[in-house]
Amino acid sequence: MSKEVLTGAQAIIRSLELLGVDTIFGLPGGAILPTYDPLMDSKKIRHILVRHEQGAGHAAEGYASASGRLGVCLATSGPGATNLVTAIADAHMDSVPLLAITGQVGSKLIGTDAFQEADIVGITMPITKHSFLVTDANDIPEVISAAVLIATTGRPGPVLVDITKDAQNQKFDFVWPPKVELPGYKPVTKPHGKQVQAAAEMISKSSKPIFYVGGGIVRAGAAKELLELAELVGAPVVTTLMARGAFPDSHKQNLGMPGMHGTVPAVIGLQRSDLLITLGARFDDRVTGDAKSFAPDAKVVHVDIDPAEIGKIRHADVPIVGDLKEVIPELTAELKKIYGTKTHDLTDWWSAMNHLVEHYPLGHDAPEDGKLSPQAVIKRIGELSGPEAIFAAGVGQHQMWSAQFIKYERPNAWLNSGGAGTMGYSVPAAMGAKVAQPDRLVWSIDGDGCFQMTNQELVTCAINNIPIKVAIINNSSLGMVRQWQTLFYDKRYSNTDLHTGTDSLMIPDFVKLADAYGCLGIRVEKEEEIDAAIKLAIETNDRPVVIDFIVSRDAMVWPMVAAGVSNDEVKYARDAAPVWEGEE
């Protein structure tokens, strides 16, 4: 045990160092100034000064999602703290281990509407896994340790620590390690043996099983374990938006992404299955469509570390609470006992699935307006970058195409805002990912709309030598919203024109903007320029790169299940419903 007199501010930095934090994204202000002083001297922590606190939050998320480690962001009180709110909410929805530290006004001023006072603990209560208000420096080592523990264990999530300015200035005896007492926090990681047996039994008896794999596999670091189990059973696998890469796309058992913009085989595979082997997924409405008609004949094995997810939307016939990294090997072992030397005969099931795979591959048309096909651009980025690269998407059509047309072979390669759908996620998340994994090629695949929400972080990238590549899929519009207007609002395009295309006002000019930000800017309008631009971006590492891909605004995301209807109504393309063998 070590003991030393420190200020609260020094204790914050020291605690973070001792807990292994090596990077903080943040921006200073009055109430956090004391902490920025010792931060300057830290040899272990790199602080990256962002241009907007939302960028710090998403960067910390990107850092966490790319590496599986804790992401940390730091902001001042009041507006600094409230600027973090969107990122905190995002991390909450997608179970990202995030620590947000905010300065607070002096404890005597709390409740007086002091300058830059905001009740950030109150504001973020519904969107954090937990939060702390610290008014006494003596509590700092314990609170920071508890916050890191809570954020990174069980179901990961964001934890906020709000520390008053006087606590940061207070001198006290810093004792390490602190005693962390959380009597109400005991995540269950080890599954119930009987339940694992019951699951194995049920799987072995199923004739149409399917693995419904969610982001929990990625957060649990259980992709290898999943591969072994899936190959043992031999059943089809679908990976949700949050789980792209949790199971290799090149694997013949992988049917792709399910849900609103899922592949036909994945959507119908779930619908027709008799057993959903649900691993770290939560029956999100974007996956289930109308939940009442979702997979109507299927029993459910549901494994999750969060007991509240089990039975929330769909009854589980075999519920298993536990850490997927522990549960899956036990399940595999049980199944090996049951199978013995036999293999699971799924011939009929696979012939039905293969029929769908053959007839309904992902595809797209060439645009009629002569502009680039956004899908083709994204596909080429994936192909030329390879599976070791990281891809962080914004939110909208380009996000769905990135989930569909890039082949993911490993977890933590695909970063996106799934639960919250936060426009503006991509650029700062890519920045955070590049900081966490500097040797990897990191792409931000962004929309012209999303990009305009957080592109200021390109400055941070340029100044701090974080050479990310940004591909703007520029359709001159809020494309996803426009697609809904095309389909459901009679082509009345209310407020979705962004005027960023080459045949419009072209404000802003993204290439000039890139230049102003110290980045290499490239515009691509012709198909034959696509490869060269991508290659130039990959080769350029002395500064960030922005490619403005001028794509057709009429391209739409297909397949699609309209919001709220049954997944049976999946449309392969406009007015084209897939034919299921059983109905022929």
């Binding site: 109150g122 209560m125 519904p126 896994k129 109400g184 509240a308 039975g311």
Partner: protein, 167 residues
């Protein structure tokens, strides 16, 4: 709609009540009654909540509550558990009605706390239905004011919900 009585054992931390009440509100669960106070263990408080839910989702409520870091334990009490409301009622009285009101007080084993010429304050303790019946009796005389605690509840027998909780 069905009613459930939950006993929640929590760490006595600032903002705790906001966390619990906020969770009920944002998950769409209706709190009918709420009572908070210290428990027999130092540092732990006990919350009694009566919640109205539609069939199945009670499990969702308890699981979500359990996820709060400062919550030690959530128990649903069975309907046989001891349940008590505590009420103060100010009733209009005059010479003609006073004796009738006092008779009702005796009948319900309530107590008169304060008397002035034109009103009395009555205290009553009992389960929700007894208190409701009492109010019905008093209504014709004119209830001027009424306050009520949340339901307090405790399982019968010698077991306690704090067993196995370290003191």
């Amino acid at each position: 709609m069905s009613k459930h009585v939950l006993s929640i054992l929590v760490e006595d931390k600032p903002g705790l009540l906001t966390r619990v009440a906020g969770l009920f509100a944002r998950r769409g669960f209706n709190i009918e009654s709420l009572a908070v106070g210290t428990s027999e263990i130092e540092g732990l408080s006990r919350i009694t909540v009566v919640v109205a839910v539609e069939g199945a989702p009670l499990e969702q409520v308890t699981k979500q509550i359990n996820k709060l870091i400062n919550v030690i334990k959530v128990v649903e009490l069975d309907p046989e558990a001891v349940q008590r409301d505590h009420m103060l009622i100010k009733v209009k009285t005059d010479a003609a009605t006073r004796s009738q009101v006092l008779e009702a007080v005796t009948l319900f084993r309530a107590r008169v706390i304060d008397v002035v010429s034109d009103a009395v304050i009555i205290e009553i303790t009992g389960d929700t239905s007894k208190c409701a019946a009492f109010i019905k009796i008093l209504e014709p005389y004119g209830i001027k004011e009424m306050v009520q605690s949340g339901v307090l509840a405790m399982g019968r027998g010698s077991k306690s919900i704090t067993e196995k909780v370290s003191k």
